[in-house]
């Protein structure tokens, strides 16, 4: 039997989380970081193998009575999400090295939960079996819940409970659909099987397929999050530490858009086409509402989280207009948004840590006192508003271009999101960084970024810029996933009318 790379990849952080349950005291943080770095190394090895054409898929019967398999596999989209996850977690660990716990909830607990989150999230990106995916999809909630509830602002408990309740609503509704899939598979296919490939081959009745798909979609819409079920996100992001928010928005919420492509389109192509108009409207609402709410926010962390609501709107739009270009743009956006939000949350977090307040009005003239910090925030903001040269620009452009080829008016509305983005982005920078140095800035912001803080931001921002200028390699990896999704939908890209035709 070949070496089970994918199993090891996901189990490694979970083992790390268990190891951190031991009383390691001072050694805890280095050990935790070592596990995260080791996982990153394994993910790089997996990447090399995948690109070399090795078949990494694992398939073992898991629960025979349920038709569930321990089935892991990779495609282009899965690979980039795995890399994003394994890259962000060590970055977050370094950023949160001095995380202030409450009582026993010290850094050791934080690191353990971060590793648990990483392991469960990795398995959701790897699972080729619907039940296996569901199990880990739900399991990610528990470490995230403790990360929010154990570390952060004064109202963190409320935020944690709200986070969990919203996601459990989605999760339990998804459970009904997952059970329905089992029943369908058992009655239509004879032997029940949760394997994605087996389920996709079922002659799914139209009506039933739509109902089951709705269950899946509700879970993912809550998770993404999209307006109107986004309300848990701003509170959670405001109360959690910047590192937790990075993992929540950068990794956890991506599972939703990832799963829309892998499971909604993969299992229910007919129902996905049927629901597309609704999803397009919802994503437009999210784009505009998220941006508008970001403009109206005075709390920096809420502002950042609303920008994500807007960006998730773009990703979902890209998926549901069904062109190769836009779907690939969405996948690329998932990666870029991970870096972009990480940079924004972490840089703004450094700002807030110095000032002791997240209110946008408490700042002013920071660029004169802490130029490196200001520069980092600027780059992060420019990435959030998708300026050309930033990787987010490429993805947003692809989504809008793909949308334009399908329905120009939708693209036109989506494009207003970019203008609004410029407003909130520049407002954020202008209010906090420019202008005369206020008295409170003078008093509180006495230091610029130190070595460790730079070490956190440099790789993140570096990748943002790198992918902005060189999007090709990543896009080439994810292109097959987008093509497969189109094939599954039995759709072809709209052909632009040649000039002179008409």
């Amino acid at each position: 039997m070949t070496f089970p790379w994918l199993t090891v990849l996901g189990l490694l952080p979970l083992v790390g989380a268990l190891v951190l349950a031991l009383p390691l005291r001072r050694a805890a943080r280095p050990v935790g970081l070592a596990f995260a770095l080791l996982t990153f190394a394994v993910s790089v090895a997996v990447t090399v193998l995948y690109l070399g054409g090795t078949d990494l898929a694992v398939r073992q019967p898991w629960i025979r009575a349920f038709g569930a398999y321990w089935a892991l596999g990779l495609d282009g989209m899965g690979l980039v999400m795995v890399l994003l996850t394994t890259f962000l977690v060590p970055v977050v660990m370094i950023a949160e090295w001095d995380v202030a716990g409450h009582g026993r909830w010290d850094a050791q607990g934080y690191f353990a939960m971060a590793l648990a989150l990483q392991g469960t999230a990795l398995f959701t990106f790897l699972a080729d079996d619907v039940l296996l995916f569901y199990v880990f999809f739900e399991a990610t909630l528990i470490p995230m819940y403790f990360l929010i509830g154990g570390f952060g602002g004064a109202r963190r408990r409320v935020a944690a409970v709200q986070f969990l309740m919203f996601n459990l609503i989605g999760g339990f509704i998804l459970l009904a659909s997952v059970i329905g899939l089992f029943a369908t598979s058992a009655s239509l296919g004879g032997t029940p099987s949760y394997l994605l490939a087996d389920l996709a081959a079922l002659p799914m009745p139209t009506e039933l397929g739509r109902w089951l798909m709705i269950g899946f979609l509700i879970a993912f819409v809550v998770k993404a999050p999209m307006v109107p079920v986004h309300t848990w996100l701003p509170l959670a992001a405001e109360q959690a530490t910047p590192g937790s928010s990075t993992m929540m928005v950068g990794i956890l919420d991506k599972i939703a858009t990832f799963a829309m492509i892998k499971f909604c389109i993969g299992l229910f192509p007919e129902a996905s086409a049927w629901v597309a108009p609704v999803m397009i409207v919802l994503s437009l609402v999210s784009i505009i509402y998220g941006a508008a709410a970001a403009i109206a926010s005075t709390n920096l962390l809420r502002l950042v989280s609303y920008t994500s609501v807007s960006h998730f709107g773009f990703m979902v739009l890209g998926i549901y207009v069904f062109t190769t270009q836009s779907i690939n743009g969405s996948i690329f956006f998932m990666v870029n948004h991970g870096f972009s939000t990480a940079a924004l949350f972490l840089a703004v977090g450094y700002l807030i840590k110095r000032r002791g307040s997240a209110d946008i009005n408490d700042f002013g003239g920071v660029e004169k006192v802490a130029p490196v910090l200001a520069g980092s925030v600027l780059l992060a903001v420019l990435s959030a508003i998708s300026l050309p040269g930033m990787s987010t620009f490429v993805s947003e452009f692809l989504v809008i271009a793909g949308t334009w080829s399908r329905t120009p008016w939708v693209a036109a509305i989506a494009a207003t999101g970019i203008i609004l983005a410029a407003t909130y982005g520049l407002r954020l920078y202008q209010r906090t960084m420019t202008g005369p140095v206020t008295e409170s800035t003078q008093r509180h912001i006495t230091t610029d970024l130190d070595g460790r803080e730079k070490a956190v931001l440099v790789p993140v921002i570096g990748l943002m810029l790198l992918f902005g200028f060189l999007p090709g390699p990543v896009m080439a990896v994810t292109e097959p996933t987008a093509q497969a999704a189109m094939q599954r939908m039995q759709l072809t890209d709209p052909v632009a009318p040649a000039k002179g035709e008409k």
């Binding site: 898991w62 629960i63 025979r64 009575a65 349920f66 038709g67 009582g103 026993r104 909830w105 039940l131 569901y134 199990v135 880990f136 739900e138 399991a139 909630l141 528990i142 403790f146 509830g149 154990g150 963190r156 408990r157 944690a160 409970v161 969990l164 309740m165 459990l168 609503i169 339990f172 509704i173 459970l175 009904a176 997952v178 059970i179 329905g180 089992f182 029943a183 058992a186 009655s187 004879g190 032997t191 029940p192």
Partner: protein
């Protein structure tokens, strides 16, 4: 006239040990009584378990004891589960370290609370060791109850299991008035429901001319008289059974009894009674009344919805942890019954049916229950157990291991994946769905969510609250830790590798008629 002594040896052994226990009360000196009783109890259950396994491997089965009991695959599974859960929950009875060297049971249950006699008994450090034979009697009754092949045996078993439970509920060492009130309530309501049961038995006898479940099934298939008597009998019989399961509207005793009874007894009742009652319900409805499933399925479905609503919604408003778990047990009775309502018989390629999934659910629910109640006995303040949820605040900081284990049980009750509870929920809901009750699954899923709120609230209080002064985690002996460890490991392992137990439950799901 033959009695298959070997086949029914596990039950006989438990009942004989109970009788020996009563004798031991009379002859063994007080100093050695406690040890003797614990030894007798544990040894008899273990030996009964060994006998059960050898009988099962020898392939013994069919009608036994002159056709009054049916030794089929579900019986084997339920006996095995009852012996395992009986053993680990009775172990908690033997805990003496937590309570300053005495057990959790009244020094002298016959004394009036607050009287001089009570104070004297207490000062003399007397202990009631009768609780062990009582528990064995109850366990014996519980084993016969779901194995009964006729309604009279079933009624006798019902009484054998109920009467000791009524007594045990009134034997708490602390808060005795509450305990006695619980016992009285349980007794009155229980007696009432037994009367319903008996009346139902009489009507069904009138309808079928026999007490035999299989004869009733035949009569249902080939009716010789109008179905009015059948429906009335069926309804009254159901009242008696559903009372023990804890299905709304026959659930009213649960919160008071769970709260008032000594916590080890609550743990014992929570799973063993439920196991026996669900087992008997399955047998009556699937063997005797399966021909009438079209008439009982919709009715039962309505009751199941009401049960889940009451359990989940009322559970939200509770401030006492034992009461919360009582409402939780009502909600879980509803979840189990979704599979029963589905009445799905399985297919050759996917054999997981209603009976198998209900049995599996009982096992995973039992593990978390036994463990949770054992943990509850350990969290104490100066006046005994600290049962207010508020006093559990900050437990995650003062004793992270215990709080972590309790959180695991709560997550299992909630049905979060990677715990056994999730697999159980999946199984019963899948059975209901395949039985054609898709809507019931959706309702059940939404109500699971409501129930999740109170489980998670306990976790919030434990982990994110400030510790309360005066609340400590008592130093317990292995009698408490062993059940907790078994339950925690069981919940975790069955959450990841449910296969063997699930296959066992699936294989044990066909009733002989």
């Amino acid at each position: 006239m033959t009695v298959e002594w070997r086949a029914i040896a596990p039950v006989l052994l438990v009942l004989i040990a109970a009788i020996l226990g009563i004798l031991a009360e009379a002859v063994v000196p007080r100093a050695q009584r406690f040890f003797a009783q614990v030894f007798l109890t544990v040894a008899s259950i273990v030996v009964a378990g060994v006998l059960l396994v050898t009988n099962w491997r020898a392939g013994l089965g069919g009608p036994v004891a002159m056709g009054s009991m049916m030794l089929d695959a579900p019986t084997y599974f339920m006996w095995g589960a009852l012996l395992v859960f009986g053993l680990i929950s009775i172990l908690v009875f033997a805990e003496r370290e937590l309570n300053g060297g005495v057990s959790a049971f009244a020094a002298s249950a016959a004394t009036v609370p607050g009287s001089r006699a009570e104070a004297e008994a207490s000062a003399a450090r007397l202990e009631h060791t009768e609780v062990f034979p009582l528990a064995l009697f109850a366990l014996g009754g519980m084993m016969v109850f779901p194995a009964s092949a006729d309604l009279i045996t079933m009624f006798v078993a019902l009484e054998v299991l109920s009467l000791p439970l009524y007594l045990m509920c009134g034997m708490a060492r602390r808060r005795r008035l509450l305990s006695q009130e619980a016992a009285l309530k349980y007794f009155l309501l229980g007696a009432f429901s037994s009367a319903f049961f008996l009346f139902g038995v009489a009507l069904l006898y009138g309808y079928a001319g026999s007490f035999d479940l299989s004869a009733i099934a035949t009569a249902v298939q080939n009716p010789t008289m109008g179905s009015g008597v059948l429906y009335a009998g069926m309804g009254l019989l159901a009242v008696g059974l559903l009372f023990k399961v804890g299905v709304v509207p026959f659930h009213n005793w649960t919160p008071d009894v769970y709260m008032g009874a000594p916590t080890p007894v609550t743990g014992f009742m929570a799973i063993c009674t439920k196991l026996a009652a669900v087992g008997a319900t399955l047998r009556v409805f699937y063997v005797a009344l399966s021909g009438e499933r079209w008439s009982w399925q919709p009715l039962l479905a309505v009751l199941v919805v009401a049960t889940m609503v009451v359990g989940a919604v009322w559970g939200l408003t509770q401030t006492d942890i034992k009461r919360t778990l009582a409402y939780s047990s009502i909600a879980h009775a509803g979840f189990i019954m979704t599979a029963v309502v589905g009445a799905y018989a399985g297919s050759p390629t996917s054999p997981l049916d209603s009976v198998g999934s209900a049995l599996f659910y009982l096992v995973v629910y039992g593990l978390a229950s036994v463990g949770a109640f054992a943990v509850i006995t350990m969290v104490r303040n100066a006046s005994g157990e600290a049962n207010a949820i508020a006093s559990w605040s900050g437990l995650g900081r003062t004793s992270p291991l215990l709080a972590g284990i309790f959180a695991l049980f709560m997550l299992s009750f909630t049905g979060i994946p990677l715990t056994a509870g999730f697999i159980g929920k999946w199984a019963v809901f899948a059975a209901a769905w395949r039985g054609g009750f898709e809507w019931l699954v959706i309702v059940a899923v939404l109500l699971s969510l409501v129930a999740a709120v109170f489980y998670l609230r306990i976790i919030v209080v434990m982990f994110f609250g400030e510790p309360v002064d005066g609340v400590v985690v008592g130093r317990a002996s292995a009698f408490t830790w062993l059940p907790i460890a078994v339950a925690a490991i069981g919940v975790a392992v069955l959450g990841v590798f449910p296969g063997p137990v699930l296959d066992l439950a699936t294989a044990a799901s066909t009733f002989l008629r």
